[in-house]
Structure formats: C-alpha cells, structure tokens
C-alpha cells in the first residue's frame, strides 16, 4: 500500500468526508472542520503539482481495478492548474463564509455539507479520464450548485435555482446523448482510447456527438446567448456562494470544452466553428459589460461582469485553432491564465461586494456612500480585483490578456484585439461606477457598520493573489505545459 497517501483519490475523498461530517454535525456546523480540511486539500494539490513537474502525467486506477472495468483518474498539467485554483480559491472563501454567516445567518443551514460535495465534484471532474465519469461529476456539480443557489430561500433565489436547474439538466442531457453516440460508434468512453480513434474521416454520428457535447457544455458555462440563467443565480445567492459559483463552477464546464476541443475533437474542429465560438465570446464581452454598467444592484453588476469575463475565455478558440504553433501555445496559456485570474479576482470581488452589503445593510450601488471610509481594505480589494478584470499590469489579468493579444497579432486576427480593448474599457467603467459611489460620504439616514476582520482579510488575500500571479505566474504556465509535453 505504498500509494495510500496518493493525492489523487484523497482530493476527492476528503471533501466528501468533511461534507458528510458537517451534515452529521447539524445545521450551520462544521465551518472550522471545513477550513482545516481545505487547507489539507491545498497541500495535496501542491504535492500533485510537484509530482507532475517531476514525472509528467499521473494516472491512478481506483481500487487497482483499472479501466475499462474500473475507473481511472488522470491528472495532467491543465487538470493540476484547475485543481490548484479550486483549492486555493476555496480556502479563503471558507474563512470568509464563516465570518459572513456569523454576521448574516440566512442560508447557513446546509452551506458546509453542500460546499463539501461541490468541491468533491469539482476535483473529481478535473481528475476524470473518461467521458461517462465526466457526465456523472458534471451532474453532481450541477446539483450541488443549484442547491447552493437555493440555500437562502425566498422567492428570487428559488426561481433562479429552478431556472439554473433546468438549464443545467438540459446541458448534461445533450452531453449524455453525445456520449451515447460516441460509445455506439467506438465502444469506449475512455479519453485515451478514443483519442487515436477519432480522425477527420469520422462518421456523421461522431460530428453530431461533438456538437451536442459542446452545446451542452456551453449552456453550462453560460456563454452568450446561453447566459440567461447566470445573473439571477449568481447575483441572488449569499455572497460566499456567488463567489464559489462564479469563480469555480463555470470554469469546470469551460475546462471540459477546452479539453474536448484540444484533445478529443481536435481532428474535427473547423475554422468556422472556432470563429463562431470567438464571436460568441466577443458578444458576451460587450453585452455582459454593458449590462453590468446598467445594473443598480451591486451583486447583479458583479454577476454580469462574470458573463463578460467568460467571453474572454472563448477568444482562445479561434486563436488556438488558426494560429501558427508558437502563437497557439501562447493563446492556450493566455486562456488558462484568464480562467485562473478571473477565478481569483471574481471570488475577491463577490466577497468584497458581500462585505459591503453586510455593512450597508442593502444591495444598492447608489447607497454605497461611506464604504470607502469605514471599509477601506474591502474597497481596496474590490479595486484590486477590478484591476485584474480590466487587465491592467501587473495583474494576472494583464498577463492573460497580453498572451491572448500576442497570439491574436501573430495570427493576424486584429479584430479580437479591438474587442479585448473595448471590453477592458467597459470593465473600467463599471468598476469605477462602484468605486465612485463608495468614496462619497455617508448619506443622511444611512449607516455603515464594521464587518468582521475575517471578511476583509480573506477578500484581500484573494485580490492580492490575483495581482501577484501576474508577477510570479511563470511556474503556473510551466505546470500547464508539463502535461502537454508528455
């Protein structure tokens, strides 16, 4: 039993165990346990990253059964980057959630168990090596996410959760049909078995399967025009939940789109399809940013900002597909860096927005006066996260957009550059809309109370990480490429 301490299975088992323990402990309990366990998960993810940098791709057969009868877990560079992001965003958010629910108990009852299951589903998804396992983890993730949206009760959250549930079920239904068609054609669901089988002379059933799976995943990623469910779901949930959903959950389906596009369906991808994904991404950037600017509620503004930032992720597809090899590599690095930067910055932004709402007692941008004076660190975190989203140096958002920009210029697709710049300016507009209000003095009749320190510092840690990653992001890109080279 030399591999008893292998990080791969423990990254899945650990959150399942603490989620269940938190459920057994009773409503609202288990926060401290969760924080300790997530810290351990961070260590496991780091250990896994170290193994990858040393020896390349890792495969683990659960219970020594091995595929096709058993289930294999696989970790390559991309999976390891997403695992690191998940654990290191979850840790400050868990600290934040403990403070947040101490100040505002609504929604605490089942937060810890469902969060445990959510993290288990995320980790399992990133480690899955076959299409059917991915389907199961996608559904687990969707159900946990819907549960978290509905956690606070009340009319708007329950409506948002129901709409989210129907959208996510439709998405995984389409994905499952694609898996069924692939199994019918090739008799396997393993990624490594299917990869050499799928060529550009694949039968029409495989093309249909690819289209169905990608469409289903796009619906779950909330790419424009499938974004209708996202703003009410992310904007209506309690702040720690919004942060988890916006930072991590949509990244999971994006990760799958990327994986399918680059590996499994690479022989089938066409320029037209890539341009379509890029165009939808561009539309998402503009539409999401303009709507963010029009919002009067702070959390809805941040939620629409997520719609816009998802668009940047999809700019990578035309760049990867149409570019010369060197530029394609920097497009991939830029896209993944954008996913990581957005994960950290959006978690920080939702956390800071949640603190401001707790402090002012309402979710209204027009009534933010006095926040700058009473919660300077929170406002500073919001601003730093905004810097990352705008893509200003030295943040990780800047590195991401720089890499995408270089790829766009090298492949002669200057129009994506114009979209990126317009998106950056619109982002600045909606971030400053909030900052301007927050620096005004308190309006007569309003009051701004202090919030617990843990709220301020956890949001600040996330925002700071999103900036520092821009300066020290090279190891992360090295890790990403560790899997690709092997």
């Amino acid at each position: 039993m030399t591999d008893f301490l292998d990080p791969l299975p423990w990254l899945i088992v650990l959150p399942l165990v603490w989620g269940t323990l938190a459920f057994v402990l009773g409503p609202g309990r288990g926060g401290r346990l969760a924080i300790a366990a997530i810290a351990l998960q961070c260590a496991l993810a780091l250990q896994l990253a170290g193994q990858l940098l040393g020896n390349g791709v890792r495969i683990y057969a659960i219970g020594d059964w091995g595929a096709p009868l058993g289930i294999d877990l696989m970790a390559d560079g991309l999976a390891a980057v997403m695992l690191l992001l998940t654990q290191f965003v979850a840790l400050p958010l868990a600290v934040y959630a403990r403070g947040y629910f101490a100040a505002q108990a609504k929604g605490i009852s089942q937060f810890w168990p469902i969060t445990g299951y959510l993290l288990a589903a995320l980790n399992a998804l990133f480690l899955s090596a076959d299409l059917f396992n991915i389907y199961v983890t996608l559904e687990l993730l969707g159900l946990a996410a819907v549960g978290l949206v509905a956690i606070a009760g009340g009319k708007p959250p329950v409506i948002a959760a129901m709409r989210y549930l129907l959208a996510t079920l439709l998405g995984s239904g389409a994905y499952l049909l694609g898996v069924a068609l692939l199994y019918g054609t090739y008799g396997s669901v393993s990624l490594s078995v299917l990869m050499p089988l799928i060529t550009n002379e694949a039968p029409p059933a495989v093309l249909l399967a690819a289209a169905l799976m990608l469409l289903g995943l796009l619906l779950k990623t909330a790419l424009f025009p499938f974004h209708f469910w996202l703003p009410p779901a992310h904007g209506g949930a309690p702040a720690p939940v919004s942060a988890l959903l916006s930072a991590l959950v949509i990244k999971a389906s994006f990760y799958l789109v990327l994986r399918l596009w680059l590996d499994l369906f690479a022989p089938l991808t066409t320029v037209a399809a890539a341009q379509l994904l890029g165009a939808l991404g561009a539309a998402a950037i503009l539409w999401g940013s303009v709507l963010a600017l029009l919002q009067s509620r702070l959390k809805m503004l941040v939620a629409y900002s997520t719609v816009a930032q998802i668009g940047y992720l999809f700019l990578l597809f035309p760049l990867v597909t149409l570019s010369p090899p060197g530029a394609a590599e920097s497009a991939l690095q830029g896209g993944v860096m954008q996913a990581v930067a957005h994960g950290l910055a959006k978690a920080a932004m939702f956390a800071a927005a949640g603190s401001m709402i707790v402090a002012t007692g309402r979710d209204d941008i027009a009534r933010l006066g006095g926040v700058g004076a009473r919660l300077p660190l929170t406002l500073f975190s919001f601003g730093l996260a905004g810097v990352t989203l705008m893509g200003l140096p030295p943040s990780a958002g800047f590195s991401a957009k720089w890499l995408l920009l270089m790829a766009a210029l090298e492949s002669g697709q200057w129009w994506w550059v114009a979209v990126m710049i317009a998106g950056g300016l619109l982002t600045a507009a909606y971030v400053f809309k909030v900052l301007r209000r927050a620096f005004l003095p308190v309006e007569a009749g309003d009051s701004v109370t202090r919030v617990p320190r843990s709220l301020e510092f956890s949001a600040f840690a996330l925002a700071l990480a999103s900036i520092l990653l821009g300066l020290f992001g090279a190891p992360l890109l090295e890790l990403l490429m560790a899997g690709a080279a092997a």
């Binding site: 199961v136 079920l169 019918g184």
Partner: protein
C-alpha cells in the same frame, strides 16, 4: 433494419419529445417529466447502440444504471424546488420576465 438501430431511433425520438417538452412547456411538472423522457431517450441510445451482433455489452448497462441514479437525484431536487416555488408564489411555472430585459428591476 437492425434491432440496435431501431432502439437508437426510438431513443432519438424520445430525446426529441423530451427536448420539446423542456423548452416549450411552461408547467414545471411537465418540464421535470420532459427531462426524464429526454434522459430515457439518451439511455436507450446508449444501451441500444451498445450491443454488437445481438450480444449485449454490459458496460453501457452499468452506465445507464448509474445514469438512472443521477436522474432520480436530479428529479428529487427539481421536485423539492418546484414545491418550494409553489409555496412561495402559488404557481407551478417560472415567471416570464427575463432579467436582461429589465436590469433595473428586482
């Protein structure tokens, strides 16, 4: 026409019926039923196409069993949410207004 293809075509028809119900019906209970029909269609395709020369392949059967468990969990969650929605609004349907059309609202 082989039996495998017959099953697959029946599955595709079920999937289409479920899809139409999910997109076109306003009633939540019908949506939940439609999702189950859609899922059954996918399962039927998985099992139907999975048999080779009339010999049953056990792997897709195991997958469908797992899929049914997942579908039950999803249905239970959907029913619980629909029930809560009925208690809160007195209606078994989602309100029509899209958040995009009226950003200043709610």
């Amino acid at each position: 026409m082989s039996t495998a293809l017959l099953y697959a075509l029946a599955g595709a028809a079920l999937f289409a019926i479920g899809l139409a119900g999910l997109l076109l019906q306003p009633h939540l209970l019908r949506n939940i039923l439609a999702f189950n029909i859609l899922g059954s269609g996918a399962f039927l395709i998985l099992v139907g196409l999975g048999q080779r020369d009339g010999i049953t392949d056990p792997v897709p059967q195991a997958m469908v069993l797992t899929g049914i468990v997942v579908a039950i969990a999803a249905t239970a969650l959907a029913l619980a949410l629909a029930r809560q929605l009925l208690d809160l609004t007195g209606q078994m349907r989602l309100p029509e207004d899209r958040p995009d059309s009226n950003p200043a609202d709610d």
